[in-house]
Every structure is written in C-alpha cells, then in structure tokens.
C-alpha cells in the first residue's frame, strides 16, 4: 500500500527543513520554561494587566495571563504562532509540492507512467504527511522534558497533559494537511495550492480569535478548526480531548477521501 522508494526520496528532500522545525519547536519549549521560571513573568504580567481598562483586560482574556504560569506557559509554547506556522508549513508543503507542484513540473506524469498505482503514491505521501509533523511535535515534547530536567521546580508538570496537547496539535496539523490534499487534487499549480491552504488556515486562525472576542459572532465557533485545539483548556481540564480529536479526525478523513478519489480519477495534464 505504500512505496518506500517514494517516501524515502520525498523525506530526503524535506529532511533539512524537518530537522530545523524539530529543533525550533523543541528549543521553543525550553525557552518558554526558562522565561516563566527565571523571570516571575506571571506576577509581572498580572500587575501590568491590572492597570489596563476592563475592556482591554477582557480583550486579552484570562487565558492570556494564565499562560505565564508554568503549565500555561507550556501550553502556550504549543500554541505559539511560530510553532503553528512551522507545523502548518510541513502540512501544506507536502501535498502542494508533490501533487499540484509535480503536475505543474511534469514529474508526476513520469511517476504515473511507471507501474505504481496512483493511490499508492497518494497514500505514501499522506504517510509522510502524518510522520513529519509528528517528528516535529516529538521535538516539542523532548524540549519540554529537557526543560523539566533543567528546572526542577517544573518537575511536577503533568506530562500526560502535555502529551495530549501534542496529540491534539498533531490532529490539527493533519486537518490542515487534509484540506491541502483536497486543494492539490483540484489544482495544477503548487503555488496556488500553497496560497489557498495558507489563506484558509489564516482565516480559521483569525476567526478563532474573533469568536473569542466578539460575542455577536460566537455562533461561528464550531466553524473554525482552531476551536478544536485549545491547549490551555487541556491543561485546566476544561476541554474534551476526545471530542476535539474526533472532530478533527473526521474532517481530515472526509478531506482525504474526496482528495484520494479525485487523484485516482483525474487527468494528469501535460
């Protein structure tokens, strides 16, 4: 069902970026623990925000301040835009480059002319799309563990919760990857797919913030994938991980089924 040859070649092509993402996500988690432990940021932030007008305090929210606690900081480390951007790049670049991009370059034509089923190529690419963000997230978990070893005062952090955050993040990234597969199946240009997928992801991201801040549009909350990834709520036990993962997995499955069917039937243009 998978082509090792294809996986190996594609993995090799993105290896440097993956290592960079792994180190970045990992060191970012260490940095977050360092910041919270070495400077009493929680206290400073609470004093700082108490001077703000009530509307502004509401704008930032308790969640924002809570992230300067040790567990909050860890959760924030897995929800920081830098981490999300790097993982989203992995999720988007694989299908955009290797489906639409290779159609554009003419190399998919050569691959499809060889004795290999299209579904096998698609599935192999998806396996890689599953593994690469997971490797970067393992980098994050490793960073948190290293940070806990460096700072003994963080040793009572609930690592199970951190593991759950990572799994939830992984599913979020796979959902982004799922709709990028879908866009790739219906497009002939890698750059266009990248732009579309990045645009949709940014839209979901800002919609998530908008529904939090503006109660009049809170009914839109279920329609952004970022609603199903709330690391702070996982730490505080307010979010149902199973429900979040279930919804993201269901969405991903739907996107992939449509994408794979399309790829299997589509004309490969010259």
């Amino acid at each position: 069902m998978i082509s090792r040859n294809y996986i190996y070649k594609t993995f090799k092509e993105h290896f440097s970026f993956l290592i960079f993402a792994l180190l970045l996500v990992g060191s970012f988690q260490i940095l977050m623990l360092t910041l919270v432990v070495e400077a009493d940021i929680l206290n400073i932030t609470q004093i700082f925000f108490s001077k703000f007008p009530p509307q502004l305090q509401q704008f930032f929210g308790e969640e924002f301040i809570a992230q300067f606690s040790i567990s909050g900081a860890v959760a924030f480390g897995y929800n920081h835009p830098i981490v999300l951007i790097f993982l989203a790049i992995i999720a988007i670049m694989l299908p955009a480059k290797h489906i639409a991009g290779e159609i554009e370059d003419g190399t998919l034509e050569l691959l499809v002319s060889l004795p290999i089923k299209r579904i096998k190529l698609s599935f192999s690419l998806w396996i890689l799309s599953v593994l690469m963000p997971l490797i970067a997230i393992i980098g994050g978990w490793s960073g948190t563990l290293i940070g806990m070893m460096i700072y003994p005062q963080t040793s009572n952090l609930p690592f199970v919760k951190i593991f759950q955050i990572g799994i939830n993040l992984w599913l979020l990234i796979l959902t982004i990857n799922g709709y990028t597969f879908l866009f790739s199946a219906y497009s002939r240009e890698g750059n266009r797919v990248t732009l579309r997928a990045a645009g949709v992801t940014l839209f979901f991201f800002f919609l998530n913030y908008t529904v939090k801040l503006w109660s009049a549009v809170s009914f839109l909350k279920p329609f952004t994938i970022f609603s199903y990834y709330q690391p702070q709520q996982i730490v505080t036990g307010q979010a149902s991980l199973i429900e979040n993962i279930g919804i993201l997995a269901a969405l991903t499955t739907i996107f992939l089924i449509i994408a794979f069917r399309k790829i299997n039937k589509m004309d490969i243009p010259g």
């Binding site: 040859n5 003419g106 499809v112 039937k265 010259g270």
Partner: protein, 297 residues
C-alpha cells in the same frame, strides 16, 4: 497478436475536442507512426494509452488486457517518453534513472548500451538535470523509456532536440528493438522520420483518424506528380491525360497529379512532343498535405 487495440476512443476537455472515435490496432513487432500537426490529438491519444487521461468513451486493450483494470501489470511492459520530458531538475541524470528504475520490477539491463549508443558522457550523466541541454535531456528521456527493455515503447516526438547523428543512432535503437520483436508506437510531425522508420502510419486530423495504412500502400495509393516539358509552347489546351489531374500549365510546362495507373497514360505520352519528363514518387509530406487538403474540402 495486437499489442495495442484502441476502439472508439473519445476524449473531451470540457467542451473542447481532444479526440473523437479513434480506432486502430498495432501488431507485435511493428513500428507504428502516429502523424499529425500540433493540436491534432496525437498527445491526447498517447496520454490515454498511458492512463494519464481517462477516456470519455471507448476502450484500450494492451497485450490483450484492458488498460483500465490492469494498469500496473501493463505499465511494467511499457516504456514511455512524453512529448515534454521534464525530469526532476535537482537530481543528477544518474540518480534520476536509479530512482525511477526502482519502481519497475524489470532491471535496467539496456542502460549502459543506450548510454553508449546515444553518446551520453559520464560528465553529463553525473550533472544535475537542470544543467543539461535540451538535447541531452531528450537522450536521458530515451534511456529512461527504453532501459528496462520494454515490450512496447510509446514515444511522443522522441527526436525533438536531437542532432542528426544522434537521431540516426536512435533509429538504429528502434530497428534493433523491432528485430527483437518489440513494438514501438511513435508520434511525430517529422514526416521523413516516420517514412524512414515506420511500417504503418495513422494520420490524425482534428481529433479523428483520416488515414491508417502501411507506408508503402499509402504512397502507392496517393497521386504522383508528373511534370511534362513539351517542345512546343502550350497554347490554350494542355494535353488531357486519363486518371490525371492538371495542376498547373505555363509556357511549355504542364504539371499533373496522376491518381491512377501509369499504363493508361503512357500511350498518350508517346504521341506528345516531349522534351523532358519528371515522374516523381510522392513523399509522405505530399500525402500528408493531400489528406489535410482533402479533409478541409
């Protein structure tokens, strides 16, 4: 046995015509030419044969098996060179061949022979593909298509970008393949090339096959050009010849298109005051243009 059997093949791109009701067969050991100008439907037909496009109607059978159901098994026996051969630019030629060969179960037994024959140097072979010239890339494409000794080679404009010497070497490779019982389906718009290497040819125009013949029969069937130079000036009435069409007359020169047997013309020619006579075999270009002008009328 028919290696390729195409029946009623139709493909539309939205509302735009690709090909319509294309039917032909190619026998084992044949070098089959597929002729037509750009946009006639050559590449569409080839891409359908390679399962890159899905037909709207019709069927394709290769080696007696339906392509739709047996793609993987059949592709194992096929070598394909696309019209625009675009390999991975960042790979070296050597790595590219090595990578692609891993998808096939047949070993690349002819690689070295083809590299030698096409004069692909070791330096070129170890260079990144993006640094290779168009001609060298095309040579690489030929090696890619034929190195696993396929039973059927489907080649879309294979000599594009090759210099005449390499073209000759390529024709030798094709003849060698044919001698070993392999089948070659070759599309081209270069008429002398098809004339030189193919046994049978299909001419496609506006998505439809307008001729399907052995090259020799096609030539025999088609009109020949007769140029008469008379001793006297042709005044008003050039001589009438049976089964020949007068194309042009000026001064003492008449040009005919002879569509029938020469035997009916000879007795008349003997009686005419002829200074010179040129009776030329049609080349494929004449035939090709004739088919096209006929179809347009």
């Amino acid at each position: 046995m028919a290696v390729i059997l195409v029946s009623g093949l139709t493909k539309y791109y939205g509302k735009t015509r690709g090909i319509e009701d294309v039917t032909f067969s190619v026998e084992q050991g044949e070098i089959f030419g597929f002729l037509g100008p750009n946009g006639a439907g050559k590449t569409t037909t080839i891409r359908l044969l390679m399962d890159l496009l899905r037909p709207d109607q019709g069927s394709i059978t290769l080696f007696g098996k339906e392509l739709k159901i047996n793609q993987v098994d059949l592709k194992e026996r096929i070598g394909y060179l696309p019209g625009d051969f675009l390999p991975y630019n960042e790979m070296t030629a050597a790595n590219f061949l090595q990578y692609m060969a891993k998808y096939r179960s047949r070993p690349p037994e002819l690689r070295q022979h083809l590299l030698d024959k096409l004069n692909l140097s070791l330096r070129e072979f170890s260079q990144k593909i993006k640094h290779l010239s168009h001609g060298t890339r095309q040579k690489l494409g030929i090696v890619f298509a034929l190195e696993h000794n396929p039973d059927l080679a489907i080649l879309d404009e294979p000599t594009s970008g090759l210099d005449p010497l390499v073209q000759e070497a390529f024709y030798e490779i094709l003849w060698d393949f044919r001698r070993r019982g392999k089948t070659i389906f070759l599309s081209s718009h270069i008429l002398p090339e098809v004339e030189k290497v193919c046994h049978r040819v299909a001419i496609i125009r506006a998505g439809k096959i307008v001729a399907l013949e052995e090259i020799e029969k096609l030539k025999a069937k088609r009109p020949r050009r007769l140029v008469l130079s008379l001793k006297n000036k042709v005044v008003e009435k050039p001589p009438e010849l049976p089964e020949a069409r007068l194309l042009k007359s000026s001064d003492n020169r008449c040009i005919y298109l002879v569509e029938g047997s020469i035997s009916k013309i000879l007795p008349i020619l003997i009686k005419l005051p002829i200074e010179d006579i040129v009776f030329s075999e049609p080349d494929l270009e004449d035939i090709f243009l004739d088919y096209y002008s006929e179809a347009e009328h």
